[in-house]
Symmetry: C2
Subunit: 310 residues, 2 copies
């Protein structure tokens, strides 16, 4: 596995793959890899001959009060996991590589970045769009893979790739859950055992709303109330949002007439940290694309997958 440190090295690696007629896939990550990331790698390997995983905790997507400094950075474990997964190259840049001195250029996706996570984290998608654009330009992959857990991020990236004429296919990979249903996230590591059990409320809320839809209830207000009640049953949970939106445009939906994204964000208190930096709270997101009963599911558009992949 090659370790690339500079943009120059990344470009040279990608060019060499292309000259050898190998399709290149990029899997952008912030490290702290888990089975969800490895499912992205596996998806990338299905679409390409050479997979590069970037590992970079991107400062511009954190607000000053957020968990940039405490975000986990277990680099050696990340490299081991990439090696074991058959990754061809990792790109671990120093900050100055992606943000040259005096950097002040930002990529903004106007409408898609506004609702949901964009409402409570106004810097977030600007930071994501900016760093993903840089990575796509530097790595010039044929495909890039993003997880459907960050559904809005996936749509923002699809939009910017299309709008900026980047010659890349953006692939969304299904959410990976632990056996108990909790969507995998690097931030789950901040939860103690009791809070982790409470955090199952997110998946239960999605299940409950989906069950109600299957039983014939298609009004957003009612489905969101059902989801909200599941969250409220977790004593330490604080609901950030529960919304039903069009999966493509992210416009609000009053009824589930076609595919509809049910998206949740919920904060929990972080476990007391012994000997390491930790944030005060842990914000978890989860989602499911709901479909009216009987509606056909297009291949590759479902976001569900349970248990460790591969």
């Amino acid at each position: 596995m090659e370790q690339l440190r500079t943009v120059q090295e990344l470009r040279a690696w990608s060019d060499a793959q292309r000259r050898a007629d190998r399709r290149v896939a990029l899997v952008p990550t912030m490290g702290a890899l888990h089975a969800g990331h490895l499912s992205l790698v596996a998806e990338a390997q299905r679409h390409a001959d050479a997979v590069v995983v970037s590992i970079f905790v991107n400062p511009t997507q954190f607000a000053p009060h957020e968990d940039l400094t405490s975000y986990p950075r277990p680099l050696e474990s990340d490299l081991d996991q990439c090696r074991a997964a058959g990754v061809d190259a990792v790109f671990v840049p120093a900050p100055g590589e992606l943000y040259p001195e005096g950097a002040q250029t930002f990529v903004e996706v106007a409408e898609l970045a506004k609702p949901l996570c964009g409402a409570s984290r106004p810097h977030f998608f600007r930071g994501v769009a900016t760093v993903v654009t840089k990575l796509l330009i530097a790595a010039r992959p044929h495909v890039a893979v993003f997880g459907a857990k960050d559904f809005q991020q996936l749509q923002v990236v699809r939009r910017l790739a299309r709008d900026l004429l980047l010659d890349v296919e953006i692939i969304g990979a299904p959410i990976v859950r632990d056996a108990d249903g909790l969507a995998l996230s690097s931030r789950n590591a901040y939860l103690d055992a009791a809070t982790r059990r409470e955090a199952l409320a997110l998946a239960r809320a999605l299940d409950a709303a989906e069950a109600a839809l299957t039983a014939g209830e298609d009004h957003a207000a009612v489905l969101l109330e059902i989801a909200g009640k599941e969250i409220a049953r977790a004593p330490s949970a604080r609901l950030d949002y529960a919304e039903l939106r069009d999966p493509e445009t992210l416009a609000t939906r009053e009824r589930v007439a076609g595919p509809a994204l049910l998206a949740l964000a919920v904060s929990f208190p972080a476990a007391a940290a012994a000997g390491r930096a930790a944030p005060a709270k842990v914000r978890l997101i989860d989602n499911r694309v709901l479909r009216p009963p009987g509606a056909p599911v297009a291949p590759g558009t479902d976001s569900q997958q349970r248990g460790t992949p591969r």
Copy 2:
């Protein structure tokens, strides 16, 4: 000369040049070509084996009240000039090529875009940065050439190319002036003969400030007053700005201690239009990088050139 209509065709053309080991230069224009543009082509030819000129009146850099609809679009004459200049390919995209349906992604260069033209035209540099990014991504040139008349634009483009990791050299080409000193601009066509004579005030203002500097006056306030007086001598001129700034950062400068950009923007009434759309006013810009007497001039950093080039 090849005529490319789609992004796909542009990519294929550029890839073919690269495969044949030919260096590619891009000259982005909004058409209405004049000798200034042709000097950019000549500069591009000095740096590359294959030159593509893009001709696209970019809607996102015009505010609603500005002259988007009346901006001149003499396509046949533009193509003739490109052909005569030995241009290898022109890219004349339909609007949907550069702004796909639902496009909402914008590139912003935060600090450099704020002062000077950015103050009175807040949308302008966002539109320029966005379309130039798209063109650089799609054409993937080794070099791209921009005129120094739009000095702030040149610095914005240099910054975004660096920040977004675009593997391209941005080259600034000197201002081209008519024999009487007026900087060439597609918008000069809107001036009647009398107003055109008044517009020479811009070049005279730069000359006067430079002469005062040579005579030992290095205070910005005094030099700007001298320049402003030259503008005020033109009865129909309305000064938008006259400023002295650092050429790299565009920070304001109180004294000319090193290279200092003297930048002017002045509006004039447009000629009454017979049978064609025309704006109500014509906004002209001009600039000069002033240097303290005796300071060495780095090669390629001077912005002055008089008369038709080549």
